[in-house]
Amino acid sequence: MSKFLKVATALALISTPAVADTFGLGRTALPEEIAAWDKDVRPDGTGLPDGSGDVLTGEEVFADQCAVCHGDFAEGVDNWPKLAGGAGTLADEDPLKTVGSYWPYLSTAWDYVNRSMPFGNAQTLDADEVYAIVAYILYSNDLVDEDFVLSNETFADVELPNHDGFILDNRLETEHSKWVGEPCMENCKEDVKVTMRAMVLDVTPDEGKDEPAPAMVEDAPVVEETKVEEAPVEEVVALDPELVAAGAKVFKKCKACHQVGDGAKNKTGPVLNGIIGQAAGAVEGFKYSKALKAKAEGGLVWTDETLAEFLRKPKAFMKGTKMSFAGLKKEKDLAAITAYLTSLGN
């Protein structure tokens, strides 16, 4: 061991590898393997691949890939992160920390979008798309003009506003030097008064009484089944395979929260197998919002029409829905998604 230490010390002086007895375990990592996993990008741009993307392309990609959660203008939907705004708020009571107002390095935004986004579909963007999205995020924060092109070459030109807004942990100097020694044991205060109470706020979750037991559902008024022979005979329209394929593409936006197909499970959103023609709020085991439950009680059934109406503007159709989706603007996307969901059957 002492021999090892001497060797290691000697080597340390010339910054060469430390030497120790090895176990000979593991195998050499191949260059292709390292390239596949070693994707992190540093503040100086180390690790950035060649590529480029402009603001306007970024706006389109962002609308497709990111706006579901982050909003069309990077303003954030519900509790999902806001990516823009907040400049000058860091010392306020409730600071808004975004890429523009808080993040110190652009590399972090590029790296995070590249490796971890979109949520539920990570590592599917190509380098140019990532450049474009990051360019659009910069634009949303008023940091670049709309003709800006972000690339591995222009990357170093951008410095984020809060670049110098960080200091290293100084708790040892500012806190530990003060809060040491024998603490007071008696007569430490004149008087003690309650100044704030959690009960007043009342934001603690209820325990063990989350949902009514499934049996409760049986007590609900039974909707009379429509007699088949009396119902107008619906024309069975064969699904257009192209429309279904287009719908499968549109469904990518939904995949972050909804699963379909064999073995699908409820995630953030319910399983959508057989959703067309199904009563709303009927997926077993999913915790619906009060808003959806109310609609379900009102007899809402998901048809091409009702689903399209919902997906066009979810929050307008159902105020209070848990679904944090801004909506599909294009009618052809709405037609495609309903065709796709119809094609899934049960």
Partner: protein
């Protein structure tokens, strides 16, 4: 227990009894009628119970069904990137059972088989290597008990008392016995370059959670762990392999760890810049606030664990810990910090592990403002909320290690409050 402490607690007890005018003998309850649970033969004393194998992997008995992790829905946008809380109010001792140890995921708990597991070491090393799970089991391994605390534990309480329960205010913590290989061993196996001052560690899940750790820490006590409390890690805690970074914030304990890169500079990833940095009152933020400072909380009585037995003997208990060393002492106050009594540690504090404390006391039935105050072996004393706010303001989110107050009413119910 030493004679000294016995004497002290006995004195305290007698004093309490005298104050309430209750003699020792009068303290015993008497029954008016015989208890049928005793006088009548009960079904369990006559019939048979379950055979072995009724439950090949056992869960707690149904009567303990409320001792579960809970989340706070309004905290996060959804449960995939979220956190829940350990039911510390209902546990005792120090080891957290895996099944109720808090979870924090950034893109959900993934399903990763041992056969599909790979760990890569690359960057400034002689030999970039790939290890399989089976390889890891062939290195000499160690056992250590450590707490893992989310940097955001108690983070909702900066601006004031918010959540009514120790589970919610302090439950982003667990304490387990880990089995694993020192990271140092793997770095030496790869022949790390001593000019590499950092290691970047990264998980296999879609969040690619990654953190930069100084080489000094990496070589000191960081573990590549695959067992916790004797059994395989649970899926939600990073099965099959996670990183253990003793005393440091939970976000660095990368789950499903797949890559270790030796570098000459930190990566400045999302989790070490935009998150897990602490904004001070002037808008400047502290970064690299890795260590979890000394902290404690009374777990019972507390809002979810009220006193149900009325006045008389009462066990006040709680947990204390420090990311900078071992707990040396815990004091408890019943009057909101005017006077303090030193609690009994169940056993001497261990480095970067939870310590259980007890104050065996006699409750006079009056309202109490319960607090606990931890001290570690660096001499540091857990601060009050006021002290913390003076230095940090209200917007730090992370690293809130303030003294907690429970207002215990005469009826035994407790509430999360702040006091002057």
């Amino acid at each position: 227990m030493t004679n000294k402490t016995t004497g002290k607690s006995r004195r305290a007890f007698l004093k309490g009894a005298a104050l309430t005018g209750v003699g020792l003998a009068a303290g015993k309850a008497s029954a008016a009628t015989p208890d049928p649970l005793i006088t009548e033969v009960q079904p369990w004393a006559s019939g048979l119970g379950d055979g072995v194998d009724a439950s090949p992997y056992g869960l707690p008995i149904q009567y303990e069904g409320d001792v579960v992790r809970r989340n706070v829905e309004w905290l996060t946008a959804d449960t995939i990137s979220s956190i829940n809380f350990t039911p510390i109010h209902a546990l005792d001792g120090t080891i957290t059972p895996q099944g109720c140890a808090f979870e924090r995921h950034h893109s959900g708990a993934i399903d990763l088989k041992k056969d599909d597991y790979r760990l890569m070491i690359n960057g400034m090393v002689d030999r970039p290597l790939v290890f399989s799970y089976a390889d890891l089991e062939r290195f000499p391994r160690e056992n250590h008990v450590y707490f893992c605390e989310c940097a955001a534990n108690t983070g909702m309480e900066w601006a004031g008392a918010q959540l009514n329960g120790a589970q919610f205010t302090h439950g982003m913590i667990h304490n387990m016995e880990y089995t694993g290989v020192p990271l140092r061993t793997l770095l030496e196996e790869a022949g790390y370059d001593t000019a590499g001052k950092w290691v970047y560690v990264e998980g296999a899940d879609a969040s690619s959670n990654g953190r930069s750790i100084p080489m000094e820490k990496a070589l000191d006590d960081v573990l590549i762990a695959f067992k916790a409390n004797g059994e395989a890690l649970r899926k939600e805690h990073g099965y099959p392999v996670r990183l253990v970074v003793p005393g440091w914030e939970g976000n660095m304990w990368v789950k499903w760890i797949r890559r270790i890169e030796v570098t000459d500079a930190p990566v400045e990833s999302r989790e070490e810049t935009s998150k897990y940095t602490d904004v001070l009152e002037n808008g400047i933020a502290r970064k690299w606030t890795w260590e979890m400072d000394a902290k404690s909380v009374v777990t019972s009585p507390s809002p979810q664990a009220p006193i149900t037995h009325g006045k008389g003997p009462l066990v006040i208990t709680g947990l204390a810990w420090s990311g900078r060393g071992a707990i040396k002492r815990v004091d408890v106050s019943k009057d909101g910090g005017k006077t303090w009594e030193t609690a009994r540690l169940a056993k001497p504090g261990e480095k970067m592990a939870l310590t259980r404390f007890y104050l065996d006391t006699n409750w006079d039935g009056d309202e109490m403002m319960l607090q606990s105050r931890a001290m570690d072996d660096t001499g540091y004393v857990q601060p009050t909320k006021t002290q913390l706010r003076e230095v940090r303001g209200l917007n730090s989110i992370y690293h809130n290690n303030c003294i907690q107050t429970w207002l215990v009413r005469a009826n035994g119910e407790a509430e999360n409050v702040e006091v002057s």
